[in-house]
Amino acid sequence: MWTFYRKKEKGEEQAEPKGFLSRLREGLSKTRTGLAGRLDNLLYGKKQIDEKLLEQIEEILFTSDLGVAATRELIETVQAGVARKELDQPEKLRKALKEQIRQFLDVVDIPHSMPGPGEPYVIMVIGVNGVGKTTTIAKLGYQAREQGKTVIFVAGDTFRAAAIEQLQVWGDRVGVEVIKQKQGSDPSAVVFDGLSSALAKRIDVVLIDTAGRLHTKSNLMEELEKINRVIKRKLPGAPHEVWLVLDATTGQNAVSQAEIFHKALGLTGIILTKLDGTAKGGIVVGICRQMKIPIKFIGIGEKMDDLRPFNAPDFVDAIFG
């Protein structure tokens, strides 16, 4: 029913509109010349595995923002393999590394409630300032519209100057109604309005924009929890999804973001934006490994069609080429 967030199945790429893979590759090309290119350069030329090679691999993992823990674990795994003489060639080592990272990323969906008949699918989008929440909502709305769903945007960022106007511009472009009040009003009240409206109009998908906030601000985290409670009260079972937007440029702090937002609201997914830059977004490897939160989508640009489903094997393949 809700195909727009469904994981893509093997071989489905071919059925996608033309250019999907090339765009994905394009978006990931920097990641690829980064990690993949360098790994290839490193490994293809080498005949055997030595300390120096391991150190270079470590550099690649670190500079991709995998972080200390994930990098250590990966290096230890390959070192063990080398010691057991299983990994006696650079090519095997490359495969093993790839496989290990893929396993870290391979996280099953978190079970969550589903809307009853005639009820909207309610998705709350949260994250720190400037990561791309509003743009991602536009992209998600566009995708849902393309699949023939009716959609409402809820302007839950009543704090930042012109945040409501920004969402309204996107609403106009995507062709989605925006439920809003004026700046400074209570976000919970706007969300309540949004749900009432969606229920009355039998809307399929409700996307709730929220103000960017640092996870360390307890009062703002409480505000989010309140919004969450209001949603639950209005529509038991909702929000069906709470998605955290992470910026691929972010370093180790993304772990703290994921942990604290998850604790406060119970995330059902992560969206990783700005993968069209040179940042590798490797931090999600550690997050998936530690917290088992699935990555739903990646953002690869500023336009409304610059959203792609995340798929662990695809992602690793695209990185390693």
Partner: protein, 441 residues
């Protein structure tokens, strides 16, 4: 969360007690820990490598000072070097020469340029300047709107941008109109862009060529990871930046990007953003960021600052009073004065290891106005009341409130805060300060 570097080093050096000099052998382990701490803090891998090598050279053969353990000695060297690298002297905006001055903000998407433009306008106005905000982001939906709103909130004029014009033409036209609105400094907010987006980067170069800005500032997110070096390098190569502004520093990011960016650009970090409010712009203090990167909260700079502000005797007296639980409202008053010099209470508490997590601190977040009010309240107390808060009963509260032009609720709240602070400082003294080298000793 992270075990602090000082704890780790203390562990590493346990077996090495009594050694007089730092040597290749005994610092090896310590340097490993330093390396990990820097990597955990998002300092770029290559920058870390270079840095650790420098430290090795510097540390070798150093006498271990009597008062310090070898671990503390290493921290001291690391800390000193980090601080030195990030810039020893405080750098203001270079506003000399002919007006109108022109500030250009550039950076990645979502780094905080527009908010920072508003903050700079407020900052400059406080310095007696007349800023003019120029929205040159014609791409992001409602970006112009956003700056306009910030301008009207501040009462600062905002150039009426026509989205059909090119950003460089917008800036040129705004510059020609600066006089008509009585402005002597333009703040140009440009669209966020990727450093690898050649077309959009060329646009920035065109603005630069047409305006020849007084300052070109890169606005970067303090949470940035390893990619900070690529971003900063590109922007600097194309624009020859004059400085950096690091945003979102009030969070719990360790801020290694500060070192990475400084290392690849050599340009000074001029300000940090510490909140969403327009007042939340501060000068950059290398010492604070150094200890933060090392995961030691801001202990070290607090120690240094505290030492600079109090004289030793004062400090010892305070610590004794804390230990004996004699901390009173007079001390609170002195503390407030110190704190005002150091930064806000919330920030200071946030900088102390372990305390950043405390949710209870919410009641302890006085803003500037609040601090003034608190001072007025304490000033209206008698000496006896300040020394023994317990005697402050209902009628005394009413007297204090009317004497300080506040309400009884204000007085109540202050007393509540004071009691909390007292408790916390006493706990802190028992737990935190003991482990710290040379603090108040």
């Amino acid at each position: 969360m992270f075990e602090s570097l000082s704890d780790k080093l203390a562990r590493t050096f346990k077996k090495l007690r009594g050694q007089g000099k730092l040597s290749e052998n005994n610092i090896q382990e310590a340097l490993k820990e330093v390396r990990i701490a820097l990597l955990e803090a998002d300092v770029n891998y290559k920058v870390v490598k270079q840095f650790v090598e420098d430290i090795r050279q510097k540390a070798m053969g150093k006498e271990v000072l009597e008062s310090l353990t070898p671990g503390q000695q290493v921290i001291k060297i690391v800390y000193g070097e980090l601080t030195r690298l990030m810039g020893e002297t405080r750098q203001e905006l270079a506003l000399t020469g002919r007006t109108p001055f022109t500030l250009m903000l550039a950076g990645l998407q979502g780094s905080g340029k527009t908010t920072t433009a508003g903050k700079l306008a407020l900052h400059l106005r406080k310095l007696g300047r007349h800023p003019y905000l120029v929205p040159a982001d014609i791409y992001r939906p409602a970006a112009i709107d956003q700056l306009q709103k910030l301008g009207s909130q501040l009462g600062v004029p905002v150039y009426g941008t026509d989205r059909k014009l090119r950003p460089e033409d917008i800036c040129v036209d705004a510059l020609s109109k600066a006089g008509t609105v009585g402005a002597d400094i333009l703040i140009m907010d440009t669209a966020g862009r990727l450093h690898i987006d050649d077309a959009l980067m060329a646009e920035l170069v065109r603005i630069k060529e047409k305006i020849l800005p007084t300052e070109i500032l890169l606005v970067a997110d303090a949470m940035t990871g390893q990619d900070a070096v690529n971003v900063a390098k590109h922007f600097n190569e194309l624009l020859d930046l004059t400085g950096i502004i690091l945003t979102k520093m009030e969070g719990d990011a360790r801020g290694g990007a500060a070192l990475s960016i400084k290392a690849v650009t050599g340009k000074p970090i001029k300000f940090i953003g510490v909140g969403e409010k327009l007042e939340a712009l501060e000068p950059f203090f290398p010492e604070r960021t150094a200890s933060r990167i090392l995961g030691m909260g801001d202990m070290l700079s607090l120690i240094e600052k505290a030492q600079a502000e109090f004289d030793e005797k004062e400090a010892r007296k305070l610590e004794k009073r804390l230990r004996k639980k004699e901390f009173d409202l007079e001390d609170f008053q002195t503390q407030l004065k110190q704190v005002k010099k150091l930064g806000s209470i919330e920030q200071i508490l946030g900088m102390l290891p372990g305390l950043g997590q405390l949710k209870k601190l919410k009641g302890l977040k006085p803003d500037e106005k609040e601090v003034i009010r608190i001072e007025a309240i304490i000033n209206s107390m008698t000496g006896e009341e300040r020394r023994n808060y317990k005697i402050i009963n209902g009628s005394r509260r009413r007297r204090i409130a009317s004497g300080s032009g506040t309400s009884v609720q204000d007085v109540n709240r202050l007393l509540k805060n004071f009691i909390q602070t007292k408790k916390m400082m006493e706990t802190l003294t028992r737990k935190g300060l003991q482990g710290m080298p040379s603090m108040f000793q």
